[in-house]
Symmetry: C2
Subunit: 181 residues, 2 copies
């Protein structure tokens, strides 16, 4: 077969994104991705070191924004920190809902992989900020339910315009989260 295009790398990335969104990371084989691109599995592994490398490259932009949010939260205390966390996370979820959807409930296991270890810690700090650094279990519960719920579902609202989704989620967050002491 002729060398079709030098954009195979991006084709693979796009195809992987589509497949992951449909059947999840675990539920998508390299063969599936290759079939969608129209190349061999070996070609996929020529452009990417391994399967995980595809996922990390796919998630890189979202992770960068998440890290930036983490730093912004750290620069605040109390109520402002909670507000920054809520607005920042909702914004992130809306903008990257497709990327987040790729994980389709595979967060727990995928996050335990070394490549995502720091994401785990950022998530914990995010929950703390959303809970307003409160020790009350009810505050932590509300924060965790909100975080997990948005992460799990935002990918299902592809048909809702960004701005409408952002407003709805932000209003929900304001209602759901307990005010700081």
């Amino acid at each position: 077969m002729a060398r079709v295009v030098p954009e195979t790398h991006d084709d693979i990335l796009a195809a992987a994104g589509r497949r992951f969104a449909l059947t999840g990371y675990r539920g998508t084989s390299l063969q599936d991705i290759a079939r969608e691109v129209g190349c061999s599995k070996a070609t996929v592994l020529y452009h990417f070191a391994n399967k995980e490398a595809i996922l990390t490259e796919l998630m890189a932009p979202a992770i960068a924004v998440l890290q930036a949010l983490d730093e912004r939260i750290a620069a605040h205390r109390g109520a402002p920190a909670q507000r920054v966390a809520a607005e920042g996370f909702v914004d992130l979820a809306v903008r990257f809902r497709r990327e987040i959807a790729l994980l389709r409930g595979e967060f727990p296991e995928l996050l335990q992989q070394p490549a995502f270890a720091h994401i785990q810690r950022i998530s914990e700090r995010l929950v703390e900020a959303l809970a307003g650094q409160s020790e009350r279990p009810s505050a932590r519960i509300a924060a965790l339910v909100l975080l997990a719920g948005i992460s799990e579902t935002c990918g299902q609202f592809v048909d809702v315009p960004d701005e409408e989704l952002r407003c709805a989620l932000l209003a929900l967050a304001r209602r759901a989260l307990e005010p700081v002491d």
Copy 2:
């Protein structure tokens, strides 16, 4: 080896519950379960027709309660339906948080298996009821986020007493859900 006990069936069920809770359904092999029980994989498959049968038997009590809740919701309209749905679901999540945790974010895929097809439909009706049968996207979004968030996280609160968890979740639900028109 001698016939140790006739309770092997229950031993397998308990071991599977422990393993599923740790590594999820997909992440647990029949070999893992057999190792935990201290028997062969063939023995596991002697007591259960297949892997899915273990899961369905493990989930049976929770599913029965979910179906009962579905019928109770159907007997109401408007605000009472929403209240019954919220209280019923929170109660279910608290009581069966361990069983729900087994699925560890594998809901989407597992629910697509034929054995769980009707659960899918019940979930949809539950979301509708929580949204107060409203057409507003924001109402549906709030209901879905709450449902998914509680399902995903309730298994993490094993250390929180039932009554405290129920109160916190119910208060959260009341704040998060939009009132019916």
